[in-house]
């Protein structure tokens, strides 16, 4: 399998009051061509920041990449300038955000907004560009596309707006689509429509998708492989079937157990005790140790490295580190 995107030991930090705060602390994963990778985790674990780092969308913040590498189609993007990134954004990788209302310009007609990336990246004249917009809108299932291009975002429903966002992201045929919680703000019946649409487009175009979500149901439905994040690191990576069948990391286990499943009678849900740690006050050792039921002395001392469990599975837990016999004696 060919790797489209490789993220290696990525570190992203913010500066506040001259103090540097590392939010991503060595994120590693890869996306193969034509696959959907789910990036899951709870709020504050750094999943959205990972996507912003890949796109290098740090404008107006103190965010910067402090270490690691981002390799896209064999090219190192880590130290690209803003100008070079502009050629890549929207054309080779595009992004959909959670809140479709705030990510569309409220005072610009739909058609104009859709024309922006097309004018920038595709060599089309005005007439062809407009035809392309209508073609794309029809593709994402917008009825009366010829009229919609003259309307404003507030005239559309949430589901329609998200379709517009998808249309915009797809308009220049990107190889990588980053979707950051694309259905979280939508109702379930509308979510079902949008997921269905994304699945169909992904198959037709054969593009790769990085799907960021906190909803394990959406992951199970959409993804080929999954990377689970906790406190600024990927703690487990596996294909979707393995992950749900036999989760390895205690955090993944807790996460899957926490979700109530329809049809499954349980008096009590498994829950993970405590709260997500504060990035400015991270515990020593494994960041999950204070909430982990299996934590041993070493877990509070040293952070475990990712261990290859074969079959493309990775897990960062002392349980699987070599020499664990000593630890778990």
């Amino acid at each position: 399998m060919e790797k489209l995107l490789q993220v290696n030991q990525l570190e992203t930090q913010f500066t506040k009051d001259k103090e540097k705060l590392k939010i991503l602390r060595g994120v590693s994963f890869h996306i193969n061509k034509g696959e959907v990778l789910g990036l899951v985790g709870e709020s504050g674990c750094g999943k959205s920041l990972t996507s912003l780092s890949i796109m290098k969308l740090f404008k107006g913040t103190s965010g910067e990449i402090a270490g690691g590498r981002i390799v896209f189609k064999g090219e190192d993007l880590t130290h690209r300038s803003e100008r070079e990134m502009r050629k890549i954004r929207g054309k080779q990788m595009a992004m959909i955000f959670q809140e479709p209302m705030t990510s569309l310009n409220p005072v610009m007609k739909i058609g104009e907004q859709l024309l922006e990336p097309i004018r920038l990246h595709l060599d089309l004249n005005e007439k062809q560009a407009k035809e392309h917009v209508i073609y794309i809108l029809k593709k994402v299932g917008i009825p009366r596309a010829e009229e919609i291009i003259y309307e404003f975002p507030h005239q559309l429903s949430g589901g329609m707006r998200q379709r517009i966002m998808i249309a915009m992201a797809m308009s220049c045929n990107p190889q990588l689509l980053i979707a950051d919680e694309p259905t979280t703000a939508l109702d379930v019946t509308i979510q079902a429509q949008i997921l269905e649409l994304m699945k169909q487009l992904q198959k037709e175009e054969g593009m790769s998708v990085l799907l960021i979500t906190h909803d394990l149901g959406v992951v199970a439905e959409m993804c080929d492989r999954v990377a689970v994040m906790y406190a600024g690191r990927v703690v487990e990576e596996a294909n979707v079937f393995d992950l749900f069948e036999s989760p390895k990391h205690p955090y993944t286990k807790g996460l899957i157990g926490s979700v109530p499943k329809i049809g499954q009678r349980k008096d009590k849900l498994t829950s993970i005790k405590g709260n997500v740690p504060d990035p400015s006050n991270m515990p020593k050792g494994c960041k999950f140790a204070p909430r982990c039921n299996d934590a041993k002395a070493i877990c509070f001392e040293e952070e475990p490295n990712a261990t290859d469990l074969g079959n493309g599975r990775m897990c960062s837990c002392w349980m699987f580190e070599e020499g664990r016999e000593n630890v778990y004696a």
Partner: protein, 322 residues
């Protein structure tokens, strides 16, 4: 036979919309026709998508809003049109837990003051006694008395929701209306709060009206369920029946829309076409007919009534149900 704690009958609420000085006044029927009852010590859930009127129903029952029409019986007392001054006894019996634990706690009050406020209003207890009760209730919801002298912003989302629950519990209410109490929380925290709500119900024999859009949460916590669409309950019944044998096409679609956290169960879904119609201008006949995959001619003109389905207490409002 358990006693019925809450019974509501033909509840309606409309709001007047003003477009501008010369615009025609229009009315938005947020709650069109809602009737159900809850037995003491059980949980009834209202599920539906945004704008279906589930939160408005909750606010009507807690009398934060006054219904335009219909009856609300709480613990044998009819309260639908009572004035604010007559509502004190009801306020003690009915408490609410809100969705957003960030917005529902006063940032300028200490946790102790937040939780003790109902006591100040409804009782004549001394400060010492109030403090004792606050400490007790903090223990019950899984916090400690050391938390009492901090401000809300010092807590995480899950802990804040515990404070909200403590505030609701301090009056020893009979009915708790929980409006999306876990939707703003992460899954690992969500399960902590759901477990807590269940434990509290057993401990204090609480009755819950649980309002949620999340069917998997609803299945976990409820005894009975009412499915709402555009201001009306379209199907209601015991949890098991609703989930195993749904009758209304909307319930079926809703159930099949929920992504299941099991990759081996990827299945064909019923994907509803279109969006929720506006409650200002609801469709004629059956309100669901514009999106219904099984729409017939009669659905466009005649509004279906709640009809009994085979099992006890299972009702659905659909022309297909005989």
């Amino acid at each position: 036979m358990p006693e019925t704690l809450l019974k509501i009958n033909g509840l309606k609420k409309s709001f007047t919309l003003q477009g501008g000085m010369f615009a025609k006044k229009r009315s938005l029927k947020a709650v069109h026709e809602v009737s159900f009852s809850i037995d003491e010590g059980t949980t009834y859930s209202l599920v539906g998508e945004s704008g279906c009127g589930k939160s408005t129903t909750g606010r009507l029952i807690s009398r934060l809003l006054t219904p335009s029409h219909g009856e609300i019986w709480i613990d044998g007392e009819e309260v639908s049109q009572k004035k604010e001054s007559q509502l004190k006894s009801i306020r003690k019996k009915v408490q609410m837990i809100f969705q957003d634990p960030y917005a529902s706690l006063n940032p300028r009050m200490k946790v102790r003051e937040i939780i003790a406020e109902p006591l100040v209003i409804h009782t004549k207890l001394s400060k010492l006694e109030r403090n004792r009760l606050v400490n007790e209730i903090l223990e019950v919801v899984g916090l400690t008395e050391h938390h009492a002298d901090r401000y809300a912003h010092e807590f995480s989302g899950g802990q804040r929701q515990r404070i909200g629950i403590a505030r609701a519990l301090i009056m020893k209410p009979k009915l708790i209306i929980a409006d999306e109490p876990v939707s703003a929380l992460d899954v690992s925290i969500q399960s902590q709060i759901l477990n807590l709500l269940k434990d509290l119900q057993t401990e204090f024999n609480l009755t819950y009206l649980f309002i949620s859009h999340d069917l998997s949460v609803v299945e976990h916590i409820s005894d009975s369920i009412g499915v709402m669409y555009l201001g009306t309950i379209v199907e209601s019944g015991p949890k098991d029946v609703i989930f195993s044998n749904p009758q209304h096409p909307y319930t079926k679609a809703l159930l099949s829309s929920v992504p299941v956290p099991d990759p081996r169960l990827r299945r064909e879904r019923i994907v509803l076409q279109g969006d929720l119609p506006s409650p200002v201008n609801p469709p004629s006949g059956c309100r669901f007919h514009t999106r219904c995959p099984a729409c017939m001619d009669i659905c466009r003109t005649v509004e279906p009534e709640m009809k009994k389905v085979l099992a006890d207490d299972h009702f659905a409002a659909c022309h297909l149900v005989n």
